[in-house]
Structures are given as structure tokens and as C-alpha cells.
């Protein structure tokens, strides 16, 4: 097990290097000026050249890449061109905000998805199944930025029930778990939960329908077990797969949703990426993507390790 774990950790090194390299390459080959954040539209070429030198963008790409990588390995992701603030501070603050939102969205998605899935699975091929399935397909298909805007219009502009933007009355650094703050999370979290809800509902529906058709359920019924007893057996059998899908969805949501966080001005990683892209803030863009990629790699490592612990055959 230890050797397996070490081998997997060693495997992550080239993955991380590959991510860092492609991330650097992509942001550098895209057209435009890397200093657009601090150079106004009308800056002269002379001034542009002067700043390229001051910021080190006149150096060769390999020189820039290895310099950045060396600093990143020491925990220094550089400073944002646009704000001058350390990238690491910006990214980790945003990750914390996205984590809160993603957890709530996953929870909502899991609860509603499981509910719709179980109902559809239990009453398969009935109108209840069709209605629940239609809802889950809608959840997967509807453009969530559109849904976000509609929710803002209905619940904020028309009804005035919930605030449309921001992360609390005093900003995220004064966050507290009370209604005054949580109400700011409701609309973005519900919008964000729609996709996991749809996916979990479809998964659970298929699982429940499949489990109900298995022989052991017939056996349980023949033994005279009550419906609620059978339901518990079905839940136990469906739970591992449903939880695995939920974990995967949480992983996706941790990456932040650029569109949802921008629509709701939620100061997470998606909002940060949006800002970095539009300002062409290369250090911020590289740093954010690298940290998010690290999250995915580490999450995969964790899942693989847990699966191996449960089922040792995977080691082979």
C-alpha cells in the first residue's frame, strides 16, 4: 500500500509539471498584450517596451517559464500585474469562498437529486418518473448563467426577497453563518446546484430501477419484508455510487463557475479567473489555474487511495 501510494505521488509530479507548462503556454500564445492591465489603450510603443523590460516580459519564454516555476515551487506565485497584490493571497482567499459555495450547492444538488432519483426509480415508467426525469434533464441542460439571471430578476428585482450580488453585507472577510450573510449564498448556490442535481437524479434513478429488479429484492419481498425495510436495502446499495458521483461533482464545482460567480459577483475562483482573463493578468491567471489543477490532482489522488484501501485488487 505504501509503495502504491508513493508511486501515485511520483506520478503526480509530471502531471503537475505538464499542467504548469501548458498553462504557461496557453496564456502566452493567446493574442494581445500582457501589460494591458496597466497600460491604457493609448500608451505609446516606447512606453510599452519600457514596461515589458521592467516586468521581464522581454525575456525568452523558457527563461520566463523556469523563473516562474522555480518561484512557484517555493510557494511564491508572483504578484498580480493589475493589483500588485501577491497571487497566492488572492487565490487562496477566492478558493475559500468557492469552497463554501460549492459545498452548499453540492448539498442542495445531492438532496434534491437523490429525492428525484429515488422517486423516479421507485415509480419507473409512470408519470412521476417522467416528471422527475424531465426535471433532471432540464437541470443538466439549462444554461445556468441564464437561470442565474432569471432567479436574480424574480427573487431580487421583482420580489425583493434575496440580495442579488456579493458575499454578505460587509464582504467575505466579515462572513458569519447567520441569515444576514447566508441569504447572499442562496441564489448562487441554488443556481450552481442545478447541474449536480440533474446528474445525481439520473444516476440514482438508474441505480434504484436496477436494484429493484434484482433477485435479492424479490427474495426480501418473498420473506415478507415491509416496503420501508426494502427501501433501506435499496438505499444501502445505491449509496456508494451516488456518493462517488457527488464527490466528483464537488470536485467540478470547486473549480468555480466563471459565469455563475460573475453573475452574482461572488468573490470565488471563477470571479477571479474572469477578472484575470479580461485584464490579461498573466501571473494571476497562471497561479489560479495551477492551484485549481493541484486541487483536482490531489482530489484524484485521494479518491484513488481510498478506493485502493477499500478494494486491494486495484493495486494490482
Amino acid at each position: 500500500m505504501i509503495f502504491y501510494l508513493l508511486r501515485r505521488i511520483v506520478y503526480t509530479v509530471p502531471i503537475m509539471l505538464g499542467v504548469a507548462f501548458f498553462c504557461f503556454l496557453l496564456v502566452h500564445i493567446s493574442p494581445g498584450d500582457p501589460l494591458v492591465a496597466i497600460l491604457p489603450p493609448d500608451a505609446s510603443v516606447e512606453l510599452q517596451r519600457q514596461l515589458m523590460t521592467l516586468y521581464g516580459f522581454d525575456r525568452s519564454w523558457p527563461e520566463q517559464f523556469f523563473g516562474w516555476l522555480w518561484r512557484a515551487l517555493q510557494g511564491d506565485l508572483g504578484t498580480s500585474i493589475a493589483t500588485g497584490r501577491p497571487v497566492a493571497d488572492e487565490v487562496f482567499r477566492a478558493v475559500g469562498n468557492t469552497l463554501m459555495l460549492a459545498c452548499l450547492a453540492t448539498l442542495i444538488g445531492f438532496l434534491l437529486g437523490s429525492l428525484f432519483g429515488f422517486v423516479a426509480g421507485y415509480f419507473s415508467n409512470s408519470w412521476v418518473d417522467r416528471a422527475a426525469s424531465a426535471l433532471s434533464v432540464l437541470g443538466v441542460s439549462v444554461p445556468h448563467y441564464w437561470l442565474g439571471m432569471v432567479m436574480v430578476i424574480v427573487f431580487s428585482a421583482w420580489l425583493g426577497w434575496l440580495p442579488p450580488t456579493g458575499a454578505g453585507p460587509g464582504g467575505s472577510d466579515q462572513w458569519a453563518w447567520d441569515w444576514a450573510h447566508i441569504q447572499y449564498m442562496v441564489l448562487p448556490a441554488v443556481t450552481m446546484s442545478v447541474i449536480p442535481m440533474g446528474i445525481i437524479a439520473r444516476t440514482v434513478r438508474a441505480l434504484v430501477a436496477d436494484i429493484l429488479a434484482q433477485e435479492f429484492v424479490v427474495g426480501l419481498k418473498a420473506k415478507g419484508m415491509t416496503d420501508s425495510g426494502i427501501f433501506l436495502h435499496v438505499v444501502k446499495n445505491a449509496a456508494p455510487t451516488a456518493l462517488a458521483v457527488m464527490g466528483l461533482q464537488l470536485g467540478y464545482l470547486l473549480g468555480g463557475s466563471i459565469l455563475i460567480e460573475t453573475v452574482f459577483s461572488w468573490p470565488g475562483t471563477g470571479f477571479l479567473l474572469n477578472s484575470a482573463i479580461f485584464q490579461r493578468d498573466l501571473p494571476l491567471l497562471q497561479g489560479t489555474i495551477l492551484v485549481l489543477a493541484m486541487f483536482f490532482v490531489l482530489l484524484n489522488l485521494l479518491v484513488d487511495t481510498l478506493q485502493t484501501a477499500i478494494d486491494p485488487r486495484i493495486q494490482r
Binding site: 493574442p31 493609448d42 510603443v45 493589483t83 428585482a157 456579493g166 464582504g171 453573475v263
Partner: protein, 553 residues
């Protein structure tokens, strides 16, 4: 009945606490707070030289800082003109026109209590121009140096007199100086001292001092920074010791929120989360008005043009074609398309501007005259003139580039133009703009649609019509220029009396309109919507607006 002293004391303390709580409650209730939803995705930089274009100057520049000269933002019905700021007066040296003497305003103080004086001016010039100064900050150079291209240095003469030197005689300097905001040297020094001793590299120490300064800034402006949450909110409170009584605020606190998405901004206003939003979603304007909010707009010093190519082989080399295109656009109809949120352009500046100059060519909608000119130039419906224009799908100041360009494409068809639109990503278009019409990046385009701020003469006119500003030096993308224009520019630049300088600029502007190196289309009107409780609002003909005299009722 006996009253025990301890119980009496407790009762008194209790009453006192209740009274105090009520009093503070009523103070809080009476606090006048103005909440603004900006279009920026982040708080513009707060360290003195804001980023995010002129929205930065509007919200983290002018409210928190002052410059030596400033724009008069107190009138809605006349162009915004230059007035004294932290400099009470200024004059060019009679013998050496590259030297200017600025007399500073006595009694002005920074928010940290230190005095504003000649040393502070020298320090603020050095922060962006002197690479050897320990407080030099590369991140502030771009947004500052480009807006005062000829300023080279500053020298203290006495406590309240400073001499500025330019690279060449330049009468535009006082206008350019509106972009150099004065940050407090004493406050920065305090931030530098607080940098941990473990940081030994002087450049790194200076950088960290600027980051700390940005989080707790000190200028001389009518509002003082009180709270800053990166990417989320900036709070400023009134500076009761402000030097200008007319601009001493009555609003206690202003909260600025970055809300980049137009619909979310609109919802924030309609739901009462903010009192003021910049650039409401155009489709929502009728609804905003119907809910009792006020929508302010006024033409800004801004031009939305097609900049034409004068490179060899360009169809625009024929003046009749340039005039025809200008005569073929129904700007009134385009304005209607934009919900009224547009000023109709008749030149780079509007006819009420001191630089207008009465050009002999009238930019208006006259399709018959346009077709006549095109026929004279050898074009017809059967033999249209092919032109290709590089445009963007979005971008700072570009208004609504796609529907606007598609409207132009359709309009020009009736005057025998066959317009091809080459739509590029904004940063790409922008990079191409610097490279010029002869560069391969133009991809055969003979016009480009990049909008421009026109507040000072260099950015409004000179960079587009001087032979010294051909790419890659500056933004004369189309290579338009000749001796006549160079002479007009030189005259304007070396005329130091304000009215005469404006007259020289008016002659330059008139000739630009007559030669039409642009298709002049629109001026942005900077729409913003506000709650009716915000009073004393003056929307000037400017990119900026003065929050200081406003009231919240």
C-alpha cells in the same frame, strides 16, 4: 424604603448604557451612505494612480486624491474645462518654454495629517518617472506616463513653488497633469518602515510598501479610505478637513462595489442593494425609470469612429469617398437603436466645444449627396466599393460594437459601399491598432473601429494626424498626416495662452473634420441610474462625475 447605593449605581449604569446604545443607534440611523455599483470587475487601484481606465479615476482617483490641475465637474450644460486643483496658479517660463512654475495651494493636508507641499509634488513625479527613486513603482508608470508624455522632472523652488520640466515646449502639460494624483509621501514612508526587516531587497521593500499603501491609502481628496476588501468593496468616509469648502462632502460614507455584469447591476439597483449603478443594461432603462429611478446621461469626451487607412491602395484615399461615408449614416436612427444612449458625432469634439472650429464640411445625414459623391468617384449600386473594417465584439469604451457596426454596414450599402466586418477579440484588435494599417495583422482591412477618449488634445487629435505618431510610435493607425497638420500641431503645442491655444486647436480640429480621416459616428453618453434619494447630482460632459457635492436624503 431605603435605596442601596450599589443598586442605584447599577441602575444608573444600566440607564447610561441604554441611552448610549440608543444614541449610537440614532447616529447609525442618520448615517448618510451612498452605495455604488461599478462596471469594473475589481476595485480600481487605490494607491493614487488608478487602473480600469477612466472608471478608476472616477471612483478611486478623484474622490480620494487631488491633482495639481483638475476638471470642472460642476456644470452639465457646458464642456468640462480645466481649473486649479492643488496648484493655485501656473505659468510657463518666458525664456525657456520647457519649464513651468506651479504655485501650490497653502493649507492642503493629506489624510494622514502631513502637509501637501513642493516636496510632495517632486516625490509624486518621481514615483512614475525616476527609476532610481526608492519609491519608483513600475505598476503606476503605464497609466500615468502615457497621459503626460512630455513631463520629465520636477524641482522644488520653495515650500509652495515647484518647477516642472518637459522634453519639448508643450502647452498641453496643465491638461495632462489632471492624471497625476498626489499620494502622501509621509504615509508611504510609514508603510515602508512597517515592512519586515527580513525583506532586505530595496525594490521588494518598496513594492510591499505600495501594496500596504493601497490597502490603507492617503491622499488629499474629499473622501478618506476607511475599508478595503480586495475585489469586493471599497468604503470611503468624508474628509471634513478638505481644503475646498464647496466640495466638502455631506455624505458620511460611500461604498463602492464591483458589479461587472450589467443585469446583476440593474437587479442590485432595483432590489435596493445599491443606490447608483454605472451603465445600466440598455433594455432595462424603461423599467428602471418606471420604478422611480433617475437615469443621467450626457455626451462624454469620447469618439466612436472608423479610423481610415491612407496606406497605398486604400479606397479611402479619395476624399469624396470619405465624405460620402460620413454623409451616409443616419446617426439619429442609430441613437434610437441604442435606446437614446448615444451622442451624434459631428467631429471629434462637439460643436459647443472650444476646439470645434467651424469646419466647412458638415457631418450629417444626406444620402443623396453621399450617392452623388460616390458616383463621381466611379461607384454605383452595380459596382460598389469594397471596404474591410476590423471591429471587436466588446471592449472598453466600444459601446455596443456589433449592432452598431452592423447598422453602419447596412446604412453604407445604400451609398454603394460593400462593407466586410472582420470581428476580432478586443485585445487582439487593440494590439493591431498599435501596429498600423500596413502591418500584416490588418489582414487587408482599410479601417478600424477603436474608440478613444478625447479629453486632452494629444489623445483627441494629435496622435491620429501627426506624421510623428505613425505606428509603432503611437496610434496613427491609418498613416494620415502631412506638413500642414504637423504645422498646425506645432502651433497648438507652442501656444501657451489658454484662449489662443484653444483657437489653434480649433483650427486643427476644423481641418480634421474637413479632411475626414475618420467616419465620425458617436459619442458615449455615460448612462448611470440613481435612486431618487441621491440629490445634487450633476452629470457633466466628462468621463468623470463629482461625488463630493452630492447628498443622500
Amino acid at each position: 424604603m431605603t435605596v442601596r447605593p450599589a443598586r442605584l449605581l447599577s441602575a444608573l449604569i444600566g440607564c447610561g448604557l441604554i441611552a448610549l446604545t440608543s444614541a449610537s443607534g440614532s447616529v447609525l440611523a442618520q448615517e448618510k451612505v451612498l452605495r455604488i455599483g461599478m462596471t469594473a470587475a475589481d476595485i480600481p487601484r487605490t494607491l493614487g494612480q488608478p487602473d480600469q481606465g477612466f472608471e478608476g479615476n472616477r471612483f478611486t482617483g478623484i474622490p480620494m486624491y487631488d491633482a495639481l490641475t483638475q476638471w470642472d465637474l460642476s456644470k452639465a450644460d457646458a464642456p468640462s474645462v480645466l481649473i486649479p486643483g492643488l496648484a493655485a496658479s501656473w505659468a510657463v517660463d518666458a525664456a525657456d518654454k520647457t519649464k513651468w512654475v506651479f504655485k501650490l495651494r497653502p493649507g492642503a493636508k493629506f489624510h494622514d495629517g502631513s502637509a501637501f507641499d513642493a516636496d510632495a509634488v517632486v516625490w509624486n513625479v518621481q514615483k512614475v518617472l525616476d527609476k532610481d527613486a526608492r519609491h519608483f513603482d513600475a505598476s503606476q508608470v503605464g497609466v500615468t506616463a502615457s497621459r503626460m508624455p512630455t513631463l520629465r522632472s520636477a524641482r522644488k523652488i520653495d515650500e509652495l513653488t515647484v518647477e516642472l520640466t518637459t522634453s519639448e515646449p508643450d502647452s498641453f502639460l496643465p491638461l495632462n497633469l489632471t492624471n497625476l494624483f498626489m499620494a502622501s509621501p509621509a504615509h508611504w514612508e510609514a508603510k515602508l518602515k512597517a515592512v519586515p526587516a527580513s525583506v532586505t531587497d530595496p525594490a521588494e521593500r518598496a513594492k510591499q510598501a505600495w501594496v500596504a499603501f493601497a490597502a490603507d491609502a492617503s491622499g488629499t481628496g474629499p473622501f478618506k479610505m476607511s475599508r478595503f476588501v480586495p475585489r469586493e468593496r471599497l468604503e470611503v468616509v468624508k474628509n471634513t478637513a478638505y481644503w475646498d469648502p464647496k466640495r466638502t462632502p455631506t455624505i458620511d460614507k460611500v461604498v463602492m462595489l464591483p458589479l461587472p455584469e450589467a443585469n446583476a447591476r440593474t437587479a442590485a439597483l432595483l432590489s435596493g442593494q445599491v443606490d447608483w449603478i454605472e451603465a445600466p443594461a440598455p433594455d432595462a432603462i424603461p423599467q428602471i425609470k418606471s420604478r422611480g429611478f433617475t437615469v443621467y446621461s450626457n455626451p462624454q469626451p469620447h469618439i466612436w469612429p472608423w479610423q481610415l487607412s491612407f496606406a497605398e491602395g486604400s479606397p479611402w484615399l479619395d476624399k469624396r469617398v470619405r465624405h460620402a461615408a460620413n454623409l451616409c449614416i443616419n446617426r439619429g436612427e442609430l441613437k434610437e437603436l441604442l435606446g437614446g444612449m448615444m451622442g451624434e458625432a459631428k467631429g471629434i469634439v462637439s460643436p459647443d466645444h472650444p476646439w470645434w472650429g467651424n469646419p466647412s464640411f458638415d457631418v450629417k445625414f444626406d444620402p443623396d449627396a453621399a450617392r452623388k459623391l460616390m458616383a463621381e468617384a466611379g461607384h454605383s449600386a452595380a459596382k460598389p466599393l469594397k471596404v474591410k473594417v476590423q471591429v471587436s465584439a466588446s471592449g472598453s469604451g466600444q459601446m455596443q460594437p456589433l449592432p452598431m457596426n452592423e447598422y453602419l454596414q447596412e446604412s453604407l450599402r445604400q451609398c454603394y459601399f460593400d462593407v466586410e466586418l472582420d470581428v476580432l477579440e478586443w485585445n487582439t484588435l487593440f494590439t493591431n491598432w498599435r501596429r498600423g494599417a500596413k502591418d500584416p495583422s490588418a489582414s487587408g482591412a482599410n479601417a478600424i473601429n477603436v474608440t478613444a477618449a478625447t479629453m486632452d488634445p494629444f489623445f483627441a487629435m494629435v496622435r491620429f494626424v501627426s506624421t510623428k505618431t505613425f505606428p509603432p510610435v503611437s496610434n496613427n493607425w491609418g498613416f494620415f498626416g502631412n506638413d500642414e497638420f504637423d504645422a498646425l500641431i506645432a502651433t497648438a503645442r507652442t501656444t501657451f495662452e489658454d484662449k489662443e491655444r484653444d483657437a489653434a486647436l480649433a483650427r486643427l480640429h476644423a481641418r480634421i473634420v474637413e479632411e475626414a480621416p475618420f467616419v465620425f459616428v458617436a459619442h458615449d453618453v455615460g448612462p448611470r441610474a440613481m435612486s431618487p434619494k441621491v440629490k445634487g447630482v450633476v452629470q457633466p460632459k466628462s468621463w468623470f462625475i463629482d461625488i463630493a457635492p452630492m447628498r443622500v436624503e
